[in-house]
Amino acid sequence: MVRYLPIVWSALRRKPVRSVVTALSIGAAFMLFGLLKGMTLGFDAWLAEMSETRLYVQNRTLSSYGMPITYVQQVKEIEGVEMALTMNGMGGYYQDEKNTFGIPAVMEGFFQMFPEVQLPDGAEAEFWTLRTAAIPGRSLAEKYGWQVGDHIPVIGIPRVDGSTTWEFDIVAIFDTDDVSAGLQQQMIMQYEYLNQSASNTPDTIYTVWVEAAPGRANEISQRIDDHFASSTSPTSTQTERENAENQLQRIGDIEFFVNAVVGASLFTILIVTAGTMVQSMVERIPEFAVLKSFGFEIKALALITLLESFGLCLAGAILGVSAAYAAAPWVLPLLNPIVTQLPLSLTWNALGVVLLMSAICAIWPTYRLAHNSVVDGLAGR
């Protein structure tokens, strides 16, 4: 195979402008593929990371109806429940109205139940002692240049006193691993602060988070829902993963959309590349005929064609996927709050597409070569 490389190389260099521009247009398609497919792969990775033992209880009719706060204690007493707490939250913005971020309000036990939120030593104790304490994620803090010790005003939901300005004191900054990096766009506050200061109904909770005994998630979900079935607010309990899947679906059918766009663009580029390949082959019919008359078998010629299209596609893919990785930190946050970096698995997916694409592009030229006699070929027909 190696000995054909000089032939392939000289074929690609025959019309350098055409080869480069073809690679660039393939690159554009792969950049799109990289960003969009990478994003859905990121969603998959995010879902896979979701806990199967963490349960999420909400009002069955609609989550925004809420439940009485007494539900937390009642859930705690259900057999098999290891930990239960509630979380509330609001959206808020700092200086720039256009950039709203999430502010989850949490209760004690939160940092034990969510180990993906990583705190520096001693930060937790400090957080619980100060009512206005806040812990922003690393990327949010960097965006606004917040430091530990800063006192910041955030515009959020109306307060009992009628104002919408919430004062916070930053006591720490949290980190996460890469998969949960989206969490870093949020800022954690105390549940009590929100519950007592917000003007909406106090002591109404919207979620109960439950850590279930390992391997018994379904059974315990059922138990919780049965317990509240005849109360004023029947519940619906799902594992964290099921809930996340529902959320993703509700945003819109992303998977379908991405596949449609990526499919259309790759199909287009496939036609363009195949067209270029056919054209370059037609121009070299006499050369291939010479090779044939030297005794090159059709297999060898097919391999040369394949290598040529593989070279073009690979060059384009390397360009496009690198561009996608480089652009991701700017582009992805514009599109979703969860996946902000492209996963490594994208590379393998792209390589698969390259192989498939180059094989398809080589089919027609190879067919032509196989059915062309040496005499016709030498005559340039």
């Binding site: 521009v21 247009s25 554009a28 009719t61 009628g162 199909f267 287009t268 036609i271």
Partner: protein
């Protein structure tokens, strides 16, 4: 000029000889324009549905700092102050044309995809229906106040299961019966339910509303209303012109538009390279022909124009094909764009305007892609080209 037309005409007639490469460009541009027009149809339909819901003759009252209705809350005192404000239009009985706006969401299952999505139930005052004469009952009857009854928009009824007249849906433990259907000129209201505000508030056990809809005496009367609001700083509420309010809402749905920008620009770059490539080989294929023109004393402009026009014609065909495919796939489809608690249902319409935008994009790509190949054609050394 005559030369340019002649050369261009001869060139266009020669396209069938280079049909392979030309088709590549048609497909390339069609792919770009097809994706672009599908996304344009989607975003513009959404924006249209939201903007249809607004009128410059109406204003919206919200809590101070609330950037959308869900986080706004107004008390009876706010309502009273608003109803006595100057600039507010009057109903037939001289009462102020102000409607309460209360909204709760329910989740309903989509008929096609089986996914649960949020649908808005709006509680409105009788004044709303007196002022909005374009709201038409299309089936069943109007809801009665005091009873847990609602009417549903036709768009919502098409999209969600279990929403026929006579069906009941569960709202905070109260069954709500659907008694009629309505249209309201393709605005956002049609994506949800309407019922009586007081009845809905009784179920919510509250007297506060999310916002107020105010009909103004004239567009200019907004200033009077706003001054009146400003004169009550302790109440901490704000008046917004309805178009401004819906514009802001539309911004909140802007993810789709950002996606359009990103996908559109990357695909346009790809299309540009494709056009360049095809025109470049078209010029290569025409080397002898172009050199002959030159030898005959034809000017540079004719040759230049012939290359650019070929590119534009081929690109235009691609745009027509792309928009055509989009039209075949999506025309008349109803789509639901999900917010967290409020879906917007609209019908996809691949309009002439979308076609025009697609054509503009295709022509832009075609001209840009043809510049360098055209330049090369002009600079082609005659003797060398004729030697082939």
């Amino acid at each position: 000029m005559k030369q340019a037309i002649a050369v261009t005409w001869i060139n266009l007639q020669s396209i069938p000889r280079r049909i392979g490469a030309t088709l590549v460009m048609v497909v390339g541009i069609a792919g770009v324009v097809g994706v672009l027009s599908a996304m344009l149809t989607l975003t513009q339909g959404l924006a249209g549905t939201l903007m249809n819901s607004s009128s410059p003759l109406r204003a919206v009252m919200l809590s101070e700092g609330a950037h959308f209705i869900g986080v706004s809350s107004l008390s009876p005192e706010h309502i009273q102050v608003t109803e006595t404000a100057p600039g507010v239009a009057r109903l037939a009985d001289e009462k102020p044309a102000v409607s309460r706006d209360v909204r709760v969401s329910v989740t309903l299952v989509g008929k096609e995809d089986g996914i649960r999505k949020g649908v808005v139930i709006r509680g409105l005052s009788p004044s709303f229906f007196e002022m909005r004469t374009d709201v038409q009952l299309t089936g069943g009857r109007m809801f009665r106040s005091g009873l847990n009854e609602a009417i549903i928009g036709e768009q919502a009824q098409r999209q969600f299961a279990g929403t026929d007249i006579g069906d009941t849906i569960d709202v905070t433990g109260h069954p709500l019966q659907i008694v009629g259907t309505f249209t309201s000129g393709g605005d956002w209201y049609e994506s949800g339910f309407m019922m009586d505000a007081q009845t809905l508030n009784a179920a919510r056990k509250t007297t506060s509303v999310h916002s107020l809809i105010i009909w103004l005496e004239s567009e200019a009367a907004f200033t009077e209303l706003n001054d009146h609001v400003m004169a009550h700083p302790t109440l901490k509420f704000q008046a917004l012109r309805e178009p401004d309010y819906y514009q802001r809402l539309d911004d909140a749905w802007s993810t789709m538009r950002r996606l359009l920008m990103i996908v559109g620009s990357i695909m346009a770059v790809g299309g540009l390279f494709c056009a360049f490539n095809v025109m470049y080989s078209a010029v290569s294929a025409r080397e002898v022909e172009i050199a002959t023109y030159k030898a005959l004393g034809f000017g540079a402009s004719g040759i230049l124009v012939s290359v650019v026009v070929e590119s534009v014609v081929v690109g235009g065909l691609g745009a027509l094909l792309g928009t055509g495919v989009t039209w075949l796939l999506f025309q008349g489809n109803t789509v639901t764009t999900g917010g967290w608690d409020a879906s917007v249902v609209h019908t996809m319409d691949v309009s002439l305007w979308v076609l025009v935008q697609g054509l503009v994009a295709a022509v832009g790509i075609a001209v840009l892609g043809a510049i360098i190949p055209a330049w090369r054609a002009v600079r082609l050394p005659v003797t060398e080209a004729l030697r082939h």
